[in-house]
Symmetry: C2
Subunit: 321 residues, 2 copies
């Protein structure tokens, strides 16, 4: 028997047929038809699902369940409250895809799905309690507690990025000031770098974008950091300090075995992981008991498909099917 994992992004939909133990057997991808509307997204997912089933020479009856990771919030019945980049709001994605495919569908936030992937066969495998943080445009989180996905009583928890941890020079999209993701995401790095460069242009970053501050990316900042640029250094260090503060909060609350860092910013993780671990130590309440491991994600681009499929498997097992 197989599972299907679907990674629905704002640009691309990736679909994979996955074995019971989380190996991708066959996969495909296509453009996300965001402009064509939600029904077209359902059609596109359905046709990619048919493609991977047929492409592997399997039949629908071999597929136990489908698991979707979306950049948004859905409840346990697969009803999507919103997914901004998909232009989706209050849409019964799970039910519609079930009707279209005849297969049981489970939907979760993409960070939670990535947490499942790392738990099943990545950096948190073998643990019972772990936290996954995705440091990208925003800062998302996924929680595994007692070997099970935890997304809250109504499926709207694990919004770690909106934990207020201080005061910042710009407000969060959510309307508040001081949200963690305004300090420790790619967006946060870019905004802080732009602010510094408005004051002082003597920086490699400024030269490389030829003064066009809109062109700054987190990757560029990490590149200049490696070349010893002092403004890039200030940006990376500030991001790491607040990353440590937020992780310290999570350790003091959850006492997890491991916290896994994924997403674009974690791509520079080899540059700042030691600094981060040192900073975290300051915030741990029981300083003599620094027991939580900090690890970088291992699964990269496949996390969405593996996590989606294995999330469906976990949910089926929990429901006793």
């Amino acid at each position: 028997m197989y599972y299907i994992g679907v990674d629905v992004g704002g640009t691309t939909i990736k679909v994979g047929l996955v074995s019971e133990d989380g190996r991708i057997l066959h996969s495909s991808r296509g453009r996300t038809p965001v402009k064509e509307g939600c029904d077209e997204i359902v059609n596109k997912i359905q046709s990619l699902i048919n493609e991977v089933i047929e492409g592997y020479g399997a039949v629908k009856g071999d597929v136990k369940a489908i698991g979707l990771g979306i950049p948004g919030v859905a409840n346990k019945e697969g009803f999507v409250y919103f997914a901004t980049n998909l232009f989706m709001k209050d849409f019964p994605l799970g039910k519609n895809l079930e009707n279209a495919t005849g297969i049981k569908v489970f939907i979760e936030n993409d960070a939670t799905v990535a947490a499942v992937a790392e738990y099943v066969k990545g950096a948190s495998s073998g643990t019972q309690n772990s936290i996954f943080l995705t440091l990208g445009t925003g800062l998302g989180g996924g929680l595994i507690i007692d070997g099970k996905v935890y997304s809250g009583s109504h499926g709207i928890g694990t919004e770690m990025g909106h934990m207020v941890i201080g005061e910042n020079f710009y407000d969060c999209n959510c309307g508040n000031n001081g949200c963690w993701e305004t300090f420790s995401s790619a967006t946060a790095m870019i905004k802080y770098c732009q602010r510094l460069l408005e004051e002082d242009q003597r920086s490699l970053v400024y030269n490389k974008v030829e003064g066009d501050l809109k062109e700054i990316s987190a990757k560029l900042i990490f590149d200049c950091y490696q070349e010893g640029d002092s403004i890039a250094k200030e940006v990376v260090e500030r991001m790491v300090q607040y990353l440590a503060k937020g992780i310290g909060n999570l350790i003091n609350i959850f006492d997890p075995e491991v916290i896994v860092l994924g997403g674009g910013v974690a791509g520079g993780g080899h540059l700042f992981l030691d600094m981060l671990k040192e900073e975290i130590q300051k915030y741990i309440y029981l300083k003599s008991m620094n027991l939580t491991e900090i690890a970088l994600a291992q699964l990269g681009n496949d996390a969405g498909i593996i996590g989606g499929s294995m999330y469906a498997k976990l949910r089926l097992e929990e429901s006793g099917v």
Copy 2:
């Protein structure tokens, strides 16, 4: 069959014989022999346990397990890392009490034990996911997830009071700045009130303590707040604003069904609960989905005995005995 609940405070030890459904059948109390050392604390607990068993006309064989709530941190084996007010550090309290009584012993932080009490027969009964916050000298927390006590992978989690949520004018005992308990505990209210009165003495609070700022208590501040004192008002409002900020963080992460407030500061809860709920709304990420109930603790002084005994029951059930 019965359980025994033990509430070990820095001043008093309370012990109760409790029925399977959480009713206190017989109880006793005695002074905590903190100066006499940890072994004397064990002896005192043992003698109070014998007293309640005999006082009810029961025998040791009728007691399934003993559950202790302590003002400190212990692991799942009942080893106490520290309990400052008991002058206890790295002490095998659970094992020693088991040897003394011949009965299985479980130990947890007093906030977690109170969370269990409210879960079994108080403000969070009937829910699966709840958070208990005790607002006293410090700010402690207890977590029930999926109907089970969660205290972390190594028993050192739920230190919500040390979640950094901003910048404050004084440092926390733990060495950091901005810990939640420096904003929203009785200590926090007193310190902020003292600070305001150093600047401006025109306040009922100042008059009532006759200028002796060391005499200020949270209760006095609430009393003056009710009488319309503007400095007391500023203190209560600041406490509530940060209480809302921290609770907002917990809702965004946990999406619990209910958050229960206990401890001395919650004794003034009827004065600020509406204001608190209004403030929390600002921090909820999904503002249209304000689904978490905020409730005041129901069990008061009995929470320690009921929670301790029912914690022991839960742990026994989890271990399949």
